[in-house]
């Protein structure tokens, strides 16, 4: 029982960051129809900005986090302006190939700048864990969960309660009509890509101190983000949030009770099942055809 409780607690902590990754990707995919292969690289960049801000700039842990998120926002905006804006209206496959290329450039760039040796980000949290009865969790992970939930909440508010969010949702539903209603669709695209990228960077900046930072860290994160998006339904933000927690639960329980060697496979087994039985995702509303 204790073991089960510990698995549940682990799920909660891991699920928060998975949800962040998923929401960022589903925003971009749902609103812009871009298969974003730079998402993993943005995750890596977020972690490296965090590392630089804490070590080289000496900003302190809590100031470094918004710096990393801002870095992701900025890089996302640049990527959109330089690569995606000229390709607006181009074939989906074309943009996908460009994004794959951009992802490789970003990953190799971090390797070139920082080298292949993993970096560790120092944190102000105590080493001793917080004991909750029979289970325990590190303070750092608890902070990561809190920050992830806060960011998810902030995005929910942004999308559902602000004019920008309204414009984003309108563009998502029908960008031609939104454009006719006076929505600056070009600006919405840039804002969406920047916000989605900043969420990936936030996930990287939060998980960087928990794990270690290295140039290839984004690869698995990106695969998992795609899995979460498929799980929750393309473009479904609530679905992506819940999907993140489901993926974390599947990994935890799969590794704990079935086989730890297949931990990363568990999530993908679920994806295969979802694609076979409910290909629009677990939380997709009935689709209107025509």
């Amino acid at each position: 029982m204790t073991e089960f409780l510990q698995h549940l607690l682990n799920t909660l902590v891991l699920g928060g960051t998975y949800a962040l990754l998923g929401i960022g990707l589903t925003l971009i995919f749902g609103i812009m129809n871009v298969v974003n292969f730079t998402h993993g690289a943005l995750y890596t960049v977020g972690a490296y900005v965090m590392y630089l801000a804490v070590t080289a700039l000496g900003l302190g842990f809590f100031a470094a986090l918004p710096t990393a998120i801002l870095g992701g926002l900025l890089l996302g905006a640049i990527l959109d302006l330089v690569l995606l804006r000229p390709l607006r209206g181009a074939d989906m496959d074309t943009t996908m190939l460009v994004m794959i290329g951009a992802g490789i450039v970003l990953q190799s760039g971090t390797l070139w700048l920082f080298g292949g040796v993993a970096k560790s980000i120092p944190t102000p949290f105590p080493d001793a864990p917080l004991q909750l009865g029979p289970v325990s969790v590190s303070w750092l992970r608890l902070f990561v969960l809190g920050a992830a939930l806060a960011l998810i909440g902030l995005n929910y508010w942004l999308i559902n309660r602000t004019r920008l969010g309204l414009a984003m949702r309108a563009t998502f539903q029908d960008h031609d009509t939104a454009s006719l209603m006076g929505v600056n669709v070009r600006l919405i695209y840039t804002a969406t890509f920047a916000i989605g990228s900043s969420l990936a960077a936030a996930a990287g900046a939060l998980l960087g101190p928990v794990y270690v930072v290295f140039p290839q860290m984004g690869g698995m994160a990106e695969l998992k983000a795609f899995a979460i998006v498929i799980l929750g339904g393309l473009g479904n933000i609530t679905g992506a949030a819940i999907g993140g927690f489901i993926l974390a639960l599947a990994e935890e329980l799969g590794a704990g009770y079935i086989s730890s060697g297949y931990r990363d496979a568990m999530g993908f087994l679920i994806i295969i099942a979802v694609l076979i039985f409910k290909p629009t995702g677990l939380f997709a509303k009935a689709e209107r055809i025509g």
Partner: protein, 383 residues
């Protein structure tokens, strides 16, 4: 002669002389992970190898020729490792290789060695399969898991092990170590409990650790490289997992663990094949002192020497094989390996036959030490 003629003539002379120097050097292919999960370790090994090559070249080289290392990155990926080996042998024409750090990487390279009849010195890998699968082009200076387990056997009773769980990286190295140590421990009457694995790139092992925390074993034997060990110790501390920890495989790099895992690494024990903290206790104190001095002089972190000494010894063993073989072609060097006999940084380097008769691989038998992290320092526990 006018000026316009002088410059092309000089250029030609320069190109020719460079070509001659190039032809005179003996090229050694170095196939190591410089990127990917094993990047840190692979880079250390290459830096150690460079110290050996420079030292040998400063003393006049081998057979009157300089050594030239051709270093390639196998990206911690077996497919890449095989491709790199092929490139080194066919395109760079290296008559001998060193590599490929990880067992899965080395195993992927081995068929290429047989195809091109080129010998490789294996400096780090510890899967038993490497020297028992009948590949006569493999010469290994690191201990296979079975040898490591055998060296650990006398310590089992002194440590008072009763029940042991395993956590191993899910590849040939980790699974091989769990099997070999498990066999040895069962033979000593120790109960073997859970055997958990983790992906080589995995960063979150909380699920495995939560399960291991619930077990009644007194000791956890871990096989993983330094980056993953650092994460494991931190995550163990977070979960409140308190058991005796012993790591195997010789790629733990205790100093990096102390630096990155801090208090979480306190009390952990590690089976290593080199004692740089106590040069006077190593088999060849003078060589150890020279190597560590040179390492520091080049500005590398001391933490790297537990990994880089293998690159240093590896290149020295290759140089000895070239010397003994009498010529710098692949066949002579392979023959030369069987006559190598010198004191390396971690014991006598001398290859004994291992594997099926008729196509034996070479296996050297290094020393194995148990060290403990105590008050943020590496010490040798009294047993």
């Amino acid at each position: 002669m006018t000026r316009s003629h002088t410059i092309p003539a000089l250029t030609l002379a320069f190109v020719l002389s460079a070509g001659v120097a190039h032809a005179q050097a003996i090229r050694i292919g170095v196939n190591e992970p410089l990127t990917g999960p094993f990047a840190a370790s692979g880079t250390y090994v290459v830096n150690g190898a460079r110290i050996a090559a420079d030292e040998i070249n400063a003393k006049g080289g081998v057979l009157g020729k300089k050594l030239e290392l051709v270093v390639e990155d196998n990206k911690s990926n077996p497919t890449e490792a095989a491709a790199v080996a092929e490139k080194l042998i066919t395109s760079d024409k290296t008559p001998v290789l060193m590599g490929a750090w990880g067992s899965s990487l080395t195993l992927a390279v081995m068929p290429k060695l047989a195809d091109y009849e080129t010998a490789m010195l294996v400096e780090t890998s510890s899967s038993g399969k490497i020297t028992t699968s009948g590949n006569p082009y493999v010469f290994r200076i690191s201990p296979p898991s079975a040898l490591e387990a055998e060296a650990f056997a006398p310590m089992v009773e002194k440590l008072g092990l009763k029940k042991v769980d395993f956590l191993a990286i899910n590849n040939d190295w980790g699974r091989g170590a769990a099997a070999d140590f498990g066999k040895m421990l069962k033979g000593k009457g120790v109960t073997v409990g859970l055997v958990e694995t983790m992906d080589q790139g995995a960063q979150d092992m909380s699920a495995q650790l939560s399960k291991l925390k619930g077990s009644d074993a007194d000791t956890l034997l871990i096989t993983a490289a330094v980056d993953q060990l650092t994460l494991l110790f931190k995550q163990m501390a977070a979960l409140g997992l308190k058991k005796r920890i012993i790591t195997t495989g010789g790629s733990q790099n205790p100093d990096q663990i102390i630096a990155q895992a801090g208090a979480a690494a306190e009390g952990t024990m590690h089976l290593t094949t080199f004692l740089p903290w106590y040069p006077e206790k190593t088999p060849n104190p003078a060589a150890t002192a020279y190597f560590i001095g040179e390492w520091k002089k080049r500005g590398f972190e001391f933490a790297g020497v537990t990994e880089s000494f293998r690159g240093y010894d590896g290149i020295r063993a290759i140089a000895a094989a070239i010397e003994k073989g009498g010529a710098a072609d692949a066949a002579s060097i392979k023959k030369g390996f069987w006559s190598v006999d010198f004191t390396g940084l971690n014991g006598q380097i001398r290859f004994a036959k291992a594997g099926p008769a008729g196509s034996e691989s070479g296996q050297s038998k290094p020393d194995v030490y148990l060290v403990k992290i105590d008050c943020g320092k590496v010490m040798v526990p009294e047993l």
